[in-house]
Symmetry: C2
Subunit: 397 residues, 2 copies
């Protein structure tokens, strides 16, 4: 067998898996967030001419009363629904929840999902070119917060004619956005759905996030964030894969791993070899090594930091006080085996809301750990469908 350099390059991960101008747009639309003036983040950082990539499904009704904002998790993007294709590295991440007759019903609802600011699938982020300097932002992209993301989504919604969302829905990092939405703009939201999320990152969550960041920044291929012009295989792919490996273990559960992989690939242990991989290791390698093809290491750093900084109580007298701002009915869900965002974090939200608004709590009986928010369309989708139906009928307010 012979292989050309081109073939070899195809097997090596790109320096960045970010979408960039010049690639097919896929189903993306682009919203110019602040075309005429600098956009200032909560922390004081400034970006120029930021863009938010988004997708929509369904039709907005005449009174703009059927719009649902879906917020994605860390490595998600605007492509919540649809197929893989040119410019779309993955199929829709919530395909089982969206469509005709689904909980997010494309026959009845107008569903919007935007790649978060700072992301790498079309919205302005570290991999974008700063129009002022003409260079990639890299780690000079300003630190941003969930509030910055929510503010950008509000501007996007207003540009689409939506001043009040029927529901803001999200799991994990998406749930952080849903909570910030209803806390920052309570009268702009008729209901919220928060799955496997928290009102404030815990010390342990920050710790894990920190381990992932080190995996990236200690990879020499990271090059202090200036890896964008590197050849395939010479960027921070190993570090990003290692960060993903660490995270993926936390996204799943002991119960699931034992069910799926038990201990061995086969019963024979001879010869013992240090490089022998158990089935679970092969699976993790597979999951880890996919990441550099569709994600950007600096975005990973930025969004992990954003999650660490997440605290709905910041500057508002603490979490409980902040949550008193919420005026809309809430559906809060927990996954039984989620040890990354454990149930008590969701119960804290429920407890804070229960005397002021209609709040429902649902336990999802899944062994998929934190990723249970992605993998249980029936257990998660049915209560959500029912909840949103009742919100539409105003029977909960």
């Amino acid at each position: 067998m012979t292989s050309t350099n081109e073939d070899k390059a195809k097997q090596l991960p790109p320096a960045s898996g970010a979408w960039h101008i010049g690639l097919p747009a896929g189903d993306r639309n682009f919203f110019e967030l602040s075309p005429d003036r600098p956009y200032i983040f909560e922390g004081g950082g400034v970006v120029h001419k930021p863009v938010v990539a988004y997708e929509t499904w369904g039709t907005l009704d005449a009174t703009a009363s059927n719009a649902i904002l879906l917020c994605h998790a860390l490595t998600g993007d605007a492509h919540a629904y649809g197929t893989e294709g040119p410019g779309q590295p993955t199929p829709g991440w919530w395909n089982d929840f969206i469509g005709p007759g689904k909980p997010l019903d494309t026959d009845r609802h107008f569903i919007v999902c935007a790649n978060v600011l700072g992301g790498c699938q079309g919205s302005s982020g570290p991999s974008s070119i700063d129009p002022v300097s003409g260079k990639r932002y890299g780690i000079d992209f300003p630190t941003l917060t969930v509030r910055d993301v929510v503010r950008s989504q509000r501007a996007l919604g207003l540009s689409l004619g939506i001043s009040k969302w029927l529901s803001v829905v999200g799991g994990s990092m998406g749930g952080m956005q849903a909570l910030e939405w209803t806390t920052s703009f309570p009268s702009s939201v008729r209901s919220l759905v928060v799955i496997a999320s928290t009102a404030a990152a815990s010390a342990q969550q920050i710790a894990w996030s920190s381990a992932g960041r080190h995996a990236i920044t200690d990879d020499p291929g990271w090059q202090l964030g200036q890896y964008y012009d590197s050849e395939p295989g010479e960027g921070p792919a190993v570090g990003l894969a290692n960060a993903r490996r660490i995270a993926f273990i936390h996204y799943r559960s002991d119960e699931e791993f034992n069910r799926r992989f038990d201990r061995f690939s086969n019963e024979s242990l001879e010869p013992f070899r240090l490089d022998h991989r158990f089935d679970i290791e092969s699976y993790l390698d597979y999951q880890a090594l996919k990441m550099p093809w569709r994600f950007d290491a600096n975005t990973y750093l930025l969004l992990n930091k954003m999650m660490d900084l997440h605290d709905v109580g910041r500057g508002r007298g603490g979490v409980e006080k902040a949550l008193t701002r919420i005026e809309s009915p809430a559906l809060i869900m927990s996954v039984r085996t989620d040890f990354l965002y454990p149930r008590d974090q969701q119960m804290r939200i429920v407890d804070a809301l229960k005397n002021q608004v209609h709040v429902e709590h649902v336990d999802i009986d899944s062994d998929n750990g934190h990723d249970g928010f992605l993998t249980e369309p029936e257990q998660t989708g049915e209560p959500m469908k029912e909840f949103i139906n009742r919100v539409e009928k105003d029977s909960l307010t």
Copy 2:
């Protein structure tokens, strides 16, 4: 301020933190495990003239009936009791449990603790020089198992005149050894104490172990294991520190981190900076960066693999069947917040033993997670003291 190259080198971590010949022996004794013939491991690997470093406290009685074998955890060593000093990078890792009148009572017991084969604090391991090649073993040190370690400890005991231990005691990886001891040599053990351990590594434990191994082997300073001649700062210190960071999060608990660190170093978040560290991150950095000064990266790989391979049921018809070999009373302990070695792993042992021997189970109410086996001398020590006293009086058999 000026600084010489020598000063600078002092601040940089060594390529390996292993003890080596030429350094002060400290309290170590050395046992030549197989001076006259090659020593063959369970997996078929061979080492020549292996040495086991060990320490003892107290005096062996005339009938050799008061000997307790203490088995250390992953980054432990033979120095379970005593002070830091020349050749001893750390104080005794179980100082609160050993001493006059303590559960392991130096006035009444003869306590032995050996650095595991494959270790880096005096026993033969990857950082040792292979007497055949004259070179460091590196990753050519054969893959070993807990059974290999136990067999070497048995030879050590016999050399000291001990054919039956009053008790074999260990937490975490030490508990694996205690279980293998009583399963491999049931008549050589009068009792066992197993804390926060398991009869077989789970898929999730293997997953975490794998993440730590990647942190090391993906560090260019690792140099395929041939880093021993590297200058300070040019070995795999960053990778070893990252492996430690990942592990340390699993050794503790959400509850402890939130109690100690909550979320912030201070309430002010301005200016947001990507390199801003939360308190928990500073603490993890401190813990992580200590490791390369006292440990060897290849030993870390080897012992993690040994723990992954741990399965008392291997070749014995499964865990439950293997545990039927145990003839001695057992004390099994769990830590409430241990999610690395969760309680059901210990209950599996209890359930397997309860119809055949006297078995006691104790829940340790600590928020220190897995490390609760190190940090709760009263809750752990008192039941252990009482248990061993009763074993001595033969009141449990």
